[in-house]
Structure formats: structure tokens, C-alpha cells
Symmetry: C2
Subunit: 224 residues, 2 copies
DNA sequence: ACGCGATAAATCGTACATTGTTTGTGCAAA
DNA sequence: TTTGCACAAACAATGTACGATTTATCGCGT
């Protein structure tokens, strides 16, 4: 599964996860107030668990606090998404280069298996594609010695997955994803760490650009 | 046994900040249990504020949780420091390149002013040097459009400052710092973004290596 | 020395009190 | 009628206290 240092996922469907999903998925609007008693009533608990969940979310950056005025939903807007992608462009190549130098034949087989499923699915089920794509990159990053960087990537990934779930892949983007994945596997097999890193850089940047275009288009549609 | 009861009861600073400082500064040992009732008694509050502070720290990665077993201090060990520095090596050059292209003459004057204070102090007061050095880099990063990256840098910086406070600068490191800062200002003046980025990469890596060597030496001394 | 059960301790959830903030109302003045 | 403002009531955040449930500890008998 994921890369989870703080023990969040050990609790099944915790209050933290529920509220977090509501924020990421957009069910809670940007800057919306998070009233403790309301959330407690809605989830059938007392206020204390809600308060602790909100503090946890605050620490992770999903919620903002003002003293004596409570919590609000941090907007998952274009700037937020752009920031995350740009950090990915800087970090993921380094993770990839390390993986290329450490990859076993089992790793490569696993990547090819997942890539096979991705091509088999061929974006028919977009949710499934998203999961497979995440799995693909997780194979590469999950064993990296820099746990901090891997965790950071995972946190960002969860946000981006939720955001991009609202959109469809353009045909051009679909083709690019498949092509780049195949090319990446080839680089890994050949042990070309730098080329793989370069490719990932373009891959992440392309993915970010794609999502941002979609967000922009939808915003324009909503405004006009 | 850890906590200084004087600093603990000081007014103004929140419970979160107090516990956080105790972790970063090393007054709370690695993996030490954080018992809610103890902390509450020690800080003269009830348990609820402590619980919320711990969740906040959990979200920021300073504390780990296991269900029904409470919180523990995440170790600020060599791996942790190395991870943070490596992320800095990846991110700071990008922040620097942007700054070089955006720097005004006021920015450069401010950098030269701080650099003057640094050279004037010349590591006589190491704490002051640490503050000035942080100020120097803050001038470069604080206005970056990628708020996420800037915040990430700041959070890391706070940890590293606390860690390196335990050590002294070697003569070689002192010389390198002054030389690289001067060289950096020259690159900024000339508008050489790429050279400045390259230099910052080396600067951060050198700084990280220096701190890690010190940690290693102290660990070895403690063991033998 | 090694389970094993009783006891202590700590976490987690609930209920309540206090304090600070927001909102709505009445009233006077423009 | 509208605007500005004081003031009070409702509301919500923050802090305290306590009971329930889970985990850790320790003494005891084999």
C-alpha cells in the first residue's frame, strides 16, 4: 500500500480520512468553514475526535486555522496543484535515477506486468488507470532510502490523484503516457539512469500541464 | 527525563511550539514516549490541548502514532538530516534560479548588507551566524511564487538550524561558506541563474555533509 | 525461568464549563 | 427610510473533568 509514516491508515476509515477525502475530492468547498459540532454530528461522534482530526489535517496542510475562529478548508486550486507538480519535477527524477541503478529483474517484471494491465485497460476505466499508474510509480519509489522524499511524493500523489479524477484524459495525453511508460521501462532495462530521470521529468511536467489545462478550462466554462 | 520545566511554563508560546522545540532541540530523546497526562501536568494544562498539539505534530511528521498506544518522538537522526538535505539540494537550486531572474537592486543590496554582517561576525557568535545565514537565504526564497516549495524549505531549515546548533563550524567550512556566499552574490549581480543554481546545489550539499560528519563524529565518540 | 492472571496505567471517547466571536435587535441620528 | 452603533443573545472554539476500553506491568505459582 502507501507510504505512511504517521500511522494514519492503520485505523480503518477514520474520521481523519473521511474529512480528508471530503476536502480532496471537492465535496467540501474551498475556504469553507469546518465547524466542529457539525462535523461531529455528521459523523456520529463527539467533538474531540473531530478536533484531533482537524489538527492532523492542519499539520498536513489541508486545513487552515485562526485562533478562536476555527478551521477552514485550504483551497485545492490551480496554484496548489502547480506547486505540487513543480516539486515533483524536481524530486522524482532523483528517485527514478536511484531506482534505475537498484532495480532487480523482479522489479522490471513487476513494472512490465503493471504496464500490461494499463495497456489492457487502455483508459476504459479511468479510475482503474489511476490506480495502476500510481502502482507503477510506487514500485519505483517505495524502497528509496530517502524516506522523507518518498513520503512527500506519496502525499502529493494522493492529492493529485483525487484532483485528476474529476477530469478525463485527452487522446494526446493517453498516447504520451503509454509511450513514456514504455520508453521508461526500456531505459531501466538498459540501466540508463540519467535518460530515465530526464524522461520522468518530462512525464511529470506533461502530467501537470495536462491537469492544469483541464482545471483552467473548467474554471473558464464555469465563469463564462 | 527530558523537559526543562522553566521553558515549559513560559507564557506566549503555544503548547505545540514548546513540544516541537523539545523534539527538535533534542531535549526529548528519539522514540521517547509522549504520555499525554505527563505532558499536561508538566505544562499545567489539561489533556485535550496536549492531544491536539500531538496530532498537529503528527501531521508535520515530528511525532508518530500507533492506535491505542499513543505517540512517540520521531528520531531526528542522521538519516532524517540526510533526507532533508538531499531534498534541499533538489529544490533550492530551482528557487535560486527564479530569484536570480527576479532580483531587484534592493534585493542585492539587502543580500550584501547581510553578508557584511556575516563577515563582521565571522562566526564569533555562532547563533548569530545561524540567524544571519537563514536571513540571507530567506531573502532569496521568501517571495517565490511556489509557496509550497518555500514553506517546505522553511520547515526543513528550522529543523536543520536546531540540529546544527549543537555543533561548531570547522575552519574549512567557515571559509567555504563565506566564499560561496560572495560568489553567489556575484552570480546574482551578473544574472547568471544557472551558475547560481549550480553553486547553491554545492553549497547545500556541502552544508549537509558538514553537519552529517559532525553527527557521525559525536555518535562515534559517544559509542567509543 | 516461564506463562498467567490481577492490577496499574494510558489512550480514546463523551459530556460539560468557560471564553471569545459572530449575529441580530433596538434605538437614536441623519 | 436609511445608517450607525451599542448591547445582548446565540454560537462556536477552547479548556476541564471523567468514564470506558485497551495496553502495559508485575507478582505469583508451577
Amino acid at each position: 500500500m502507501g507510504i505512511d509514516p504517521i500511522g494514519a491508515s492503520s485505523e480503518g476509515a477514520s474520521l481523519y480520512e473521511l474529512i480528508r477525502e471530503d476536502i480532496i475530492e471537492g465535496r467540501l468547498a474551498a475556504n469553507e468553514r469546518l465547524v466542529v459540532t457539525d462535523l461531529a454530528r455528521r459523523h456520529g461522534t463527539s467533538t474531540n475526535p473531530v478536533r484531533e482530526a482537524l489538527q492532523l489535517l492542519r499539520g498536513e496542510g489541508f486545513v487552515t486555522f485562526v485562533a478562536n475562529r476555527g478551521a477552514r478548508v485550504r483551497p485545492i486550486d490551480q496554484d496548489f496543484v502547480r506547486d505540487i507538480y513543480e516539486i515533483g519535477v524536481l524530486i522524482e527524477p532523483a528517485l527514478t535515477r536511484w531506482f534505475v541503478n537498484m532495480a532487480t529483474s523482479e522489479d522490471i517484471a513487476e513494472l512490465e506486468r503493471i504496464q500490461g494491465l494499463i495497456e489492457e485497460n487502455n483508459f476504459a476505466d479511468t479510475l482503474r488507470h489511476s490506480e495502476l499508474d500510481t502502482a507503477f510509480h510506487t514500485v519505483m519509489y517505495q524502497r528509496h532510502y530517502n524516506r522523507h522524499a518518498a513520503e512527500l511524493w506519496w502525499k502529493h500523489r494522493e492529492v493529485l490523484r483525487a484532483v485528476s479524477r474529476r477530469f478525463n484524459f485527452t487522446l494526446a495525453r493517453r498516447a504520451a503516457i503509454l509511450r513514456e511508460h514504455r520508453e521508461l521501462i526500456a531505459h531501466i532495462k538498459a540501466g540508463n539512469a540519467d535518460e530515465a530521470g530526464e524522461l520522468i521529468s518530462r512525464h511529470v511536467e506533461g502530467s501537470g500541464r495536462h491537469v492544469l489545462e483541464q482545471m483552467r478550462a473548467r474554471n473558464a466554462a464555469r465563469a463564462g
